[in-house]
């Protein structure tokens, strides 16, 4: 069975676990870097990106996570997770993991009272997707090899760059598991092709 990890340092971990299981894969809560070895894919959940980054530094997660992505195994970042994956964060000198060829801006829709739900078309996933945005970032610009999957109000809110998938909103907060299922499929395909190489 395909094993998908959820980085379990802080945030909406339980919801992603449920969504992975609903999508027919095995879920693992990852609290230490050694756990990465057994995984076929990894989700960086929603939460507070500054908190997760502090804890990632404290427990030596940065290099193992970069190596995980560079090995070709898929990673999916939602909201805070998207910020962690991004190659560039507007207003900051350094990105976090810097793996995905996108530039993101934090809290770009405003403060909590501006948080919202909206219906989206997500290319290859759904044309009627109810997305929950909470103090959400958005993708300011994407590299040539990055495919834009969804926009909201003229802003990019979901994209894929090779093995990296990211979105501004929180698929884990609804019962619609289609985007998680899409990611599980990415992990299954990567597992099959990595086994052949």
């Amino acid at each position: 069975m395909t094993k998908i990890g959820v980085l379990g340092l802080q945030g909406a971990v339980r919801e992603h676990v449920r969504s992975i299981e609903e999508s027919g894969a095995e879920a693992v809560v990852v609290k230490w870097p050694e756990q990465l070895d057994e995984l076929d894919g990894l989700i960086l959940p929603g939460g507070e990106s500054t908190t997760m980054r502090r804890l990632m530094d404290r427990y030596g997660f940065m290099e193992p996570l970069r190596a995980f992505g560079e090995s070709g195994r898929p990673m999916f970042g939602t909201c805070a997770g998207l910020i962690l994956l991004a190659g560039e964060v507007a207003g900051y000198d350094e990105p976090h993991l810097g793996l995905m060829d996108i530039k993101v801006e934090r809290n770009s829709f405003g403060r909590q009272k501006e948080s919202f739900e909206a219906n989206l078309v997500i290319k290859g996933v759904a044309d009627d997707y109810n997305a929950v945005f909470i103090r959400a970032p958005h993708i300011v610009s994407a590299g040539e090899r990055t495919e834009i999957l969804a926009e909201c109000d003229g802003r990019i809110v979901a994209a894929r760059n090779g093995q990296y998938l990211g979105c501004s909103f929180h698929p884990e907060l609804t019962d619609d598991h289609r985007i998680t299922a899409y990611f599980v499929k990415m992990a299954e395909q990567a597992k099959a092709s990595l086994a052949h190489s």
């Binding site: 340092l9 802080q10 908190t51 948080s115 739900e117």
Partner: protein, 293 residues
């Protein structure tokens, strides 16, 4: 695009899970908290132990302090309004505060009615000691709960009592027959619909944090062990000898609450924690947990 929906308000609290929300009284403390890994800060004029000492009427913080904290950090900022004080809550909402605490730490403005929190776009957190209070607050529109504990004491005993009680009552409810829920609602003064929802989902429909008396990393880990979704630390951090180190230790103990060797390491040479208060030594009239209805 819909703002202020239940999903958006409750979802905001879901994102705070496994984290520590710290009380701060100025921008400098807010930055220390953010740097230590707090998931949010609560902007206050005084921490609960100082409110207790100062006596008199405790009100919403000076908006300048709240604004200063909002400008200092990128993590969410919470603030407290008095129980039932519609205008304090509306003022804080208008300022763009991310989450409001209708809090018994402040002197209540209304001794009969809480705010109708479903009327607001900003989400609310409220304190509870049992399932009746929890369900009434959810019924009024609270998007997040926390134990009341006994704020400003550095004594964990009341928070433990409240967390155990709510969780035991949720477990009982889940195992009851549906035709018994109405009587349970009557006994607890709880809205029937909320109890039915708890029964069907097998848990509270909103996250429940621990608050009120957490003074050490082990206290934070204990509350997580008892089923808290995260912790609020009020007076504990900035009343300790080395706040930055203390704050980092509490954050790590909350994440790895079952890693006892790590908690032992974190707890070494932290300096004096805040001086605690024995609950029995506090007159009934001075117990903040008795506020709220």
């Amino acid at each position: 695009m819909n703002t202020g929906t239940d999903r958006v308000k409750r979802g905001m609290a879901e994102m705070q899970k496994g984290g520590v929300i710290m009380d701060v009284v100025n921008a400098e403390q807010a930055k220390i908290a953010e740097e230590a890994g707090a998931v949010a800060v609560m902007a206050l004029e005084r921490v609960p132990s100082d409110i207790r000492k100062a006596g008199g009427v405790a009100r919403m913080a000076d908006p300048r302090i709240v604004e200063e904290v909002m400008n200092a950090v990128t993590i969410p900022v919470m603030a407290k309004a008095r129980i039932g004080h519609i205008v304090e809550a509306r003022v804080l909402e208008a300022m763009g505060v991310d989450y409001l605490d209708e809090s018994e730490v402040l002197t209540p403005a209304d001794e009969e009615y809480h705010l109708l929190k479903s009327d607001f776009t900003v989400p609310f957190v409220c304190g509870c000691r049992d399932i009746g209070e929890a369900a009434r607050r959810i019924g009024e529109g609270a998007s997040m709960l926390r134990t009341k504990g006994e704020p400003g004491t550095g004594n964990i005993v009341e928070a433990v009592r409240h967390m155990r009680k709510v969780n035991a009552q949720v477990r009982k409810l889940v195992h009851m027959n549906e035709d018994e829920i109405m009587t349970e609602a009557k006994i607890h003064g709880a809205p029937f619909e909320v109890l039915m929802q708890i029964k069907k989902e097998g848990r509270l429909p909103v996250v429940n944090f621990a608050a009120g008396g957490i003074a050490t990393p082990a206290d934070a880990a204990l509350m997580m062990e008892l089923g808290a979704d995260g912790v609020f630390v009020g007076s504990g951090i900035f009343k300790s000898e080395n706040p930055a180190k203390f704050a980092r230790a509490i954050v790590e103990a909350t994440t790895h609450y079952q890693d006892y060797k790590l908690i032992a390491e974190l707890s070494k040479e932290l300096g004096e924690p805040m001086k605690g208060l024995e609950i029995a030594g506090i007159a009934a009239a001075d117990r903040m947990q008795e506020r709220g209805w």
